[in-house]
């Protein structure tokens, strides 16, 4: 990286603080509307349905001649009331979790972009100490990745205490001291400082001084690009580990899929069933309600389906951002799109914002879906749950990290701007983002449809 930080006015960084304020406002409004107002209404509906269910249960236990008769109209009425209660609960969870996740995402985005902007705006101007003999095209290494890695180490060092302390904040039965948050919070602060310094170094980069590899086999290629591909290589291995351990176990589990396919020794009846996430999510899955109907239908698969489309569309929008940035002869489109994207700079920024929104939608729907699964009894406490939550959680973490980086790209697109000289920032981030899409192409059918 060749940035010096001395070509960007401190006032530019203050725009990051304003951006953080706007994002936080959107998050608070989203939380208030979805997580409080709508969720409260849904909570009342859930309470009503719960009372209906309790009444139906009482009628059934008092009036049914044979409690084991599942064709008794009172039993059917009780189970239908139970299904309505479950549906009302899941509806409440949808809005509550969506609102809370929006607030969390906005808080995280605002912390990174706001604190980063504030720290960089507070730095003394580098021009004051500028050496006239210093070649502005000279490239030099950055210590930021090392500081960032150190921050992660400190964060992980304090993670066990951090988890207990967080649980204590949510659950009165768990006791913890506030000091237990200390080490992890220090680690997070180091990470934020490292990231802000990283951005400080990159923001002035306008395409000069990209480091070029000088030896075979990548001679002449950008070192950042080569490094990113090697990083992707290691990432493929990480996801391959999740995927192969899942498939190894999956082929041995007695799933509904295996039963429908004829079963095997020890897997002949529904009493042998082991439930996977797809048994809760896909139509005809193994998880059934009291009436013997599969709980999986169009609506349970919908969040995963929307997420798949969201990632594919976001892959396309980031390609459009790159293509627009590289096109020196770009012309504003006509009509409504022309008003949205009057200039090349605005077009690149807006395509990146679209990508950011789609990625954020992915996180929101992912957590909504998790909350539904946990409410239905599919927890991380089982082997099936463990591999599902770890694999999809690791993927979600990659999406989240990508979104924090994208936040910075939006900021850069809005201030310095991207053009044909410095568009490689979008291109290399795009490689990472496409990889995240690629991983989902494998995870979605394996964990949701199979």
């Amino acid at each position: 990286m060749s940035g010096h930080g001395n070509h960007v006015a401190n006032s530019t960084w203050m725009r990051a603080v304003m951006m953080a304020g706007m994002i936080l406002t959107v998050g608070i409004v989203g939380f208030a509307v979805l997580g409080v107002f709508v969720a409260e209404n849904k909570h009342h509906t859930w309470e009503d349905e719960h009372h209906h269910y309790e009444d139906a249960k009482e009628e059934w236990s008092a009036g049914a001649a044979d409690l084991s008769d599942h064709s008794d109209p009172l039993y059917i009425a009780k189970e239908e009331a139970h299904n309505a209660e479950v549906a009302a609960h899941l509806s409440y969870l949808t809005y509550r979790v969506a609102g809370v996740t929006m607030l969390f995402l906005a808080g995280a985005y605002a912390t990174f972009i706001g604190l980063g902007g504030f720290l960089n705006a507070s730095k003394p101007k580098a021009d004051d100490h500028h050496d006239d003999h210093h070649d502005e095209h000279e490239h030099h290494g950055s210590a930021s990745p090392i500081i960032f890695a150190f921050g992660i180490m400190v964060f992980l060092w304090g993670l066990p205490d951090f988890i207990v302390a967080c649980k204590a904040l949510l659950d009165d039965t768990v006791t913890a001291e506030l000091g237990m948050l200390g080490i992890s919070v220090s680690g997070m602060l180091i990470m934020v400082v490292a990231v802000s310094n990283w951005w400080f170094e990159d923001l002035p980069f306008i395409g000069h001084g990209e480091q070029i590899a000088t030896s075979y086999p990548f001679e002449g290629d950008h070192i950042r690009k080569v490094g990113l591909w090697i990083f992707i290589m290691s990432e493929i291995m990480v996801f391959a580990t999740f995927f192969s351990s899942y498939l190894r176990m999956r082929t041995e589990w007695c799933t509904k899929w295996a039963l429908d396919d004829g079963g095997f020794a020890g897997c002949r009846t529904t009493s042998d069933l082991e439930l996977t996430a797809s048994d809760y999510l896909r139509p005809g899955g193994g998880k059934v309600d009291g009436l013997g109907e599969s709980v999986g239908d169009f609506w349970t698969l919908l969040p995963g389906g929307i997420n798949t489309f969201a990632l594919i569309i976001s892959s396309y929008t980031i390609v459009l951002a790159l293509k627009t940035a590289k096109n020196a002869n770009w012309e504003a489109p006509k009509g409504f799109m022309g008003k949205l994207m009057p200039t090349r700079k605005a077009a690149v920024r807006n395509y990146l914002i679209a990508t950011l929104i789609l990625g954020s939608l992915f996180i929101v729907l992912k957590l909504v879906e998790w909350s539904h699964l946990v409410a239905e009894g599919f927890t991380i406490g089982t082997v099936q749950g463990s591999i599902f939550y770890i694999a999809t959680g690791a993927h979600g973490l990659h999406v989240f990290i990508g979104l924090v980086i994208m936040l910075y790209l939006v900021f850069k697109a809005d201030t310095i701007g991207f053009d044909e000289d410095n568009a490689q920032g979008i291109e290399y981030f795009g490689l990472y983002w496409h990889f995240v899409d690629l991983a989902w192409v494998v995870i979605f059918p394996a964990f949701y449809l199979y």
Binding site: P217, F218, W229, I230, I232, M233, S234, I236, M237, A240, T241, F243, S244, L247, R248, T251, E252, W257, D260, D261, F264, A265, R282, P283, G284, F298, L301, G305, T308, F309, I312, I313, S315, Y316, V319, L320, K323, K326, G430, L431, H434, F435, D437, L438, V441, V442, P445, A446, L449, Y450
Partner: protein, 113 residues
């Protein structure tokens, strides 16, 4: 980059996007129609996954236009993926008898006395 190649006035990225969307609908649809045999659905999921993976890697990640060392860098870890999948075949309960002989070891030393 291959964005200059156009078909019906749209570039390769647009058509790749359309293909990815179509095949995603196709794989979700295959699961919705419960009458389709499971082995067929399994085959559809794998083939569609391969097509989508190729579309993302070749066009969105530009591997189609990169020199061979980037392609080798990308393909190298898949050797280990294949090995791990092979390992599943070796170690699952059906693997010993259910897979073709060329990819299973001779287990007779363990099963016969």
């Amino acid at each position: 980059m291959g964005e200059h190649a156009e078909f019906m006035g749209k570039d390769v990225y647009f058509w790749n996007f359309i293909v990815l969307m179509f095949f995603t609908l196709f794989e979700v649809g295959a699961v919705f129609f419960e009458g389709i045999p499971k082995a067929t659905v399994w085959g559809i999921l794998i083939v569609v996954g391969l097509i989508k993976g190729f579309g993302i890697a070749a066009f969105f990640m530009h591997l189609k236009d990169e020199h061979k060392w980037f392609n080798i860098t990308f393909m190298f870890p898949w050797i280990f993926v294949a090995l791990m999948l092979w390992g599943i075949g070796l170690s699952n309960p059906e693997g010993v008898t259910g897979l073709p002989s060329w990819c299973t070891p001779d287990w007779s030393y363990a099963t016969e006395r």
